[in-house]
Symmetry: C2
Subunit: 247 residues, 2 copies
């Protein structure tokens, strides 16, 4: 892990870093000392690690709950080079977009390729952050993962594979490519579904929620399209992480 | 409105009353003075106005948010005489129970009769409580309604009909008898659904949520049976009422 820049405003310190090829950012209370829970934010397909909604959420979790919060750009996003493995999917997505056809299926299949590349980067990020004295201090750190849409295409298999993640907010996603990984998840999950999602069919979202193996999982469905998740779900996710990551 | 008893413990004053034939109870902070939001609690088919879960929820809303909270026994519950209009349904429910058959359909059809009797009693209760100087003080009081299962068989048409109710938590219910009233609801709704409900089929619950006319409605679905709503939904409902009933 290599730190690049550091800036503090309104009580929050934002540090940019790289872990291997992945550019990332970690937010923490200014002057933070000692271990604290870590929440990972997985951006959506239209975003990147410092998209406005990601930064706002990060600052909220830091100022509200004192967490450390980290985001990395997914391979191919945030100005990173497009991996060769996306090419056929991106061509298909371009054609579907031009034809005004639904994109959810193509997004989900590309998501499998994205996840395979992104998961090792997230795991290296946890490794590196856990060692900082103001995050894990080298010990066991409670880790939460928040990511919807593309953030769940990556997040569902990541949460299934990574035992250090003990609570996750997922959603705006639903496809059979994720069913097997979803069934392997055992940690508490809050799952977001948009009732009138133009990208993810309602039944596919409900089926993915159904597939999650966790004893504690809670579905939050709201009216509106893929981008219309109401602001009160930010509050809800913060309380969810506070409930599961703080003792 | 006639007050019968009054007792205070742990900072909460509980007053029993009658409005017409309906026996009720209202909880408020000890020594409460001045207007405050009012939350109505509609008990379920296995309960009554002072069932343990109702009392616990009422005390929570009082101590956590300073609300006044009221519950009344539905006609035929809490020791009240069984209305003649229930007879055919109760006979059917007995037969279905003995045969080990699903009860949701019969409950819902009886619920229509219960609601017709209960709604005027709830409206009279709001009238009476709104006049108290430690609830509405004679002015406009923000009113919330919480009620699931039987509490929603009554609550869905009540919330549709009563403009003083400006926010409602409903759920554990779903039947075509409620579709029309649900479509007339325009206030914010938090709707609870149990994913493995043995009384209300999943599709029927989802369809009732879908039918609600409100621009702001949020579905909270959790694993488990009809009686297994997780405790964190009590917190969620309190925050929902605080968001909508306090300015």
């Amino acid at each position: 892990m290599r730190f690049i820049t550091e800036a503090t405003s309104d009580g929050v310190t934002e540090r940019h870093f790289t872990v291997g090829d992945a550019p990332g950012v970690v937010w923490a209370p200014a002057g933070a000392a000692g271990p604290r829970p870590l929440v990972l934010l997985g951006h959506g397909g239209g975003g990147h690690k410092t998209a406005a909604s990601i930064v706002a959420r990060a600052r909220r979790y830091v100022t509200g709950s004192g967490f450390a919060v980290a985001a990395i750009d997914a391979p191919g996003w945030g100005g990173r080079p497009i991996p060769a493995g996306y090419e056929t999917y991106n061509a298909e997505i371009e054609e579907l977009t031009a034809a005004g056809k639904p994109l959810g299926e193509a997004y989900a299949r590309r998501g499998v390729v994205v996840a395979a590349l992104a998961i090792p980067e997230w795991r290296a990020t946890i490794d590196a952050l856990a060692g900082l004295d103001w995050v894990g201090a080298g010990g066991a750190v409670p880790v939460g993962y928040w990511g919807v849409s593309l953030g769940s295409a990556i997040g569902v298999p990541l949460v299934a594979a990574e035992p250090r993640i003990t609570a996750a907010v997922l959603g705006l996603m639903g496809h059979e490519t994720l069913t097997e990984a979803a069934a392997e998840i055992t940690v508490p999950v809050e799952f977001l579904l948009q009732w009138d999602d133009e990208i993810v069919p309602r039944e596919a979202g409900l089926a993915l929620f159904d597939a999650i193996g966790s004893a504690e999982k809670t579905l939050h469905a709201n009216p509106g399209g893929h981008m219309d998740v109401p602001m009160f779900e930010v509050d809800s996710s913060e309380r969810f992480f506070a409930r599961h990551l703080t003792s």
